[in-house]
């Protein structure tokens, strides 16, 4: 499809979610194959976009044929294409995983609507990333959020309250974002990002611009769960269905961070954040606190999914820190960590879901002696854990290396120590678990039905585990072909 692939990647998943409703009325058993097929196509299209962008540079697509400031425009550069590829890949992999795991957690008549909502979440996330118009971004943000609220609410019993809190917080975030859009609109009259980049610099001294930036940042900070605003995240991702936790935790926060990068470095110039407003300094400190707190709270948890949620809060801190350090190393580390963290967190949540699938629990103590019963899953767990800690050949090491280099170059010693502290905490958590899995003398409690996971759940986990290794080995290549070009000018 060539020139149209940037729009098709969004519209195909939208149409598929509609068609899924039609199919559900005719024959419910066809919904799942169709769902996976569509996500496979999305995956291929996203790869096509990435390939086009790497070889031919930025892709632009004028929707409805109107010129940009009047119509809506899609702009795909290296950063977009990279994040789209991540979202599409993770959604595809988790969709394969979802087949067995979701059957156990959701009543059967609801399944077709679950697939529709999942597709809407994918479409919403890709729509956020791909668009070049700040209001269109808001619309897709709402699609993604609404789908996200629902997917979380159909989880375990406690998930409904978590989802309600998420709705309240998420709506405040989205409204703040909309208010930011309004402020930008009232002083410039435009909504197109490329147009705004041209119009905004003379208005940097205006109070309205400052307030708009503040609202944008706070709105997005709620969506990405940056520390004091993270209250919705742990409950939501703990009690959501395992497939939803795996997909949402890996992508929703990452897409939020993408929006933060877009706003701070494309909508505004880097000098606005460093010289005119103290925003980068604020964000560096904010992220540092988030890393400290996320890691510390993660130490005291019993539930494995909850531990992962707090680790995710810390990881969000890593990426925001890298983005706001204001130098090349930090930024490369942050963008690389978007990829690595998405893969690692998705894999770990899938393993947690696998444990839940087999024994109906997922506490840290349930890992005892699992190597005997789930050898393949536990190998993937070993690799991913090493990557979370940051042991060299795995992917996690390289992004953390760049982040620490960036922090040192920016002379933010406390941030650098926060990164090291967080790695230590991860080491404590995961070595404890690995010890339970591999060296525990105690037998696993025999009444549980411990067996290796079914193939359709095992394949995605193994794929992600392999990806952690492969991404580690090829991280140099990824940086030189894609991430180098995402670094904003002026760094």
């Amino acid at each position: 499809m060539g020139e149209h692939s940037s729009i098709l990647v969004v519209v195909i998943s939208l149409i598929a979610s509609i068609t899924n409703v039609f199919i559900a009325l005719v024959r419910k058993s066809l919904c799942y194959p169709f769902f996976v097929f569509i996500l496979g196509i999305c995956f291929l299209l996203s790869m096509d976009i990435l390939y086009t962008v790497i070889n031919f540079g930025t892709v632009k697509y004028k929707l409805g044929g109107w010129m940009p400031p009047w119509g809506i425009e899609y702009v795909v550069d290296h950063l977009n294409a990279f994040v789209i590829a991540i979202v599409a890949t993770i959604s595809f992999v988790v969709a394969i995983y979802a087949k067995e795991s979701i059957k156990k957690e959701i009543a059967k008549p609801r399944l077709p609507y679950f697939y529709s909502t999942y597709l809407l979440l994918v479409a919403g996330l890709i729509g956020i990333v791909i668009t070049g118009d700040i209001f269109n971004l808001f619309v897709f943000l709402e699609i993604a959020s609404l789908a996200g609220y629902a997917l979380i609410a159909i989880g375990e019993k406690r998930s409904v309250l978590a989802s309600f809190n998420y709705i309240i917080m998420g709506t405040i975030g989205a409204c703040f974002y909309l208010l930011g859009v309004g402020y930008i609109y009232i002083i410039t009259g435009s909504l197109n990002i490329a147009d705004l980049t041209r119009l905004l610099p003379p208005l940097y001294e205006s109070k309205v611009t400052l307030a708009a930036l503040a609202f944008f940042v706070i709105g997005v900070a709620i969506k990405i769960a940056l520390f004091p605003l993270h209250r919705w995240l742990p409950d939501s991702y703990t009690f959501a269905p395992s497939a939803v936790s795996a997909f949402a935790s890996a992508t929703v926060t990452k897409v939020g961070i993408y929006v933060l990068i877009r706003i701070s470095y494309t909508l505004f110039e880097p000098r606005f954040l460093t010289e005119i407003t103290p925003l980068s300094t604020i964000l560096v400190w904010w992220a540092t606190i988030a890393i400290f707190f996320g890691s510390t709270i993660a130490l005291g948890q019993i539930d494995f999914k909850r531990t992962l949620s707090y680790i995710l809060v810390a990881e969000v801190g890593y990426i925001v820190l890298g983005v706001s350090l204001g130098n090349k190393e930090g930024f490369i580390g942050a963008v690389l960590h978007i990829l690595n963290d998405a893969v690692m967190i998705a894999c770990l949540f899938m393993i947690a879901g696998g444990l839940f699938y087999r024994i109906g629990r997922r506490n840290l103590t349930d890992f005892t002696g699992l190597k005997k019963y789930m050898p393949i899953t536990m190998t993937a767990f070993l690799v991913t854990s090493l990557s979370m800690i940051g042991v060299p050949p795995t992917a996690g090491f390289f992004s953390k290396w760049y982040l620490i280099l960036g922090a040192i170059r920016a002379e933010q010693w406390i941030s650098a120590s926060a990164l090291i502290f967080s790695s230590l905490v991860n080491a404590i958590i995961f070595f404890k678990l690995l010890e339970k899995v591999y060296f525990s003398k105690k037998e696993a409690i025999p009444k549980y039905n411990f067996r290796e996971l079914p193939l359709s759940m095992l394949t995605p986990i193994v794929l992600m585990g392999l990806a952690v290794l492969v991404l580690g080995i090829y991280s140099g290549k990824i940086i030189s072909t894609v991430i180098e070009f995402t670094v904003p000018k002026g760094f």
Partner: protein, 124 residues
């Protein structure tokens, strides 16, 4: 004084918005929270719509017989379009929030946040 009168639309929306925001954060009843959310969003809509107004202008339905169309005669259509979208988004969020509230009521038989938290604590 001039600021007070010349920008009075902004003062109204700020007031509305703070009322809604307060209800969202401080109220314990779940439905009140959602109503606060609605007030909050309505305030933003009011803000957008008031930016589109031009003095002595009319609604943006262009009279066909006109020879020269002066943009100054018609108010700005763009915020109206954006707010049509935002209203629909608001209604949808409201619907989803109510659906979740209905589910919560089915589970806990109450709509007070602290009572629900109390029930959850008892279970532990």
């Amino acid at each position: 004084m001039e600021i007070l009168i010349g920008k009075y639309n902004y003062w109204i929306y700020i007031g509305l918005m703070m009322i809604g925001f307060y209800a969202m954060v401080a109220k314990k009843n779940l439905v009140k929270k959602v109503v606060g959310m609605n007030i909050f969003q309505t305030a933003i809509i009011l803000f957008f719509i008031s930016t589109s107004y031009k003095k002595n202008a009319t609604i943006p339905i262009i009279i066909k017989s006109q020879e020269v169309i002066e943009p100054i005669q018609y108010i700005n259509p763009l915020p109206h379009v954006l707010m049509l979208t935002a209203i629909v988004v608001m209604v949808s969020t409201f619907g989803v929030a109510l659906a979740v509230i209905v589910m919560l009521y089915k589970q806990y038989k109450t709509l007070e946040e602290d009572e629900i938290i109390e029930i959850l604590k008892d279970k532990k």
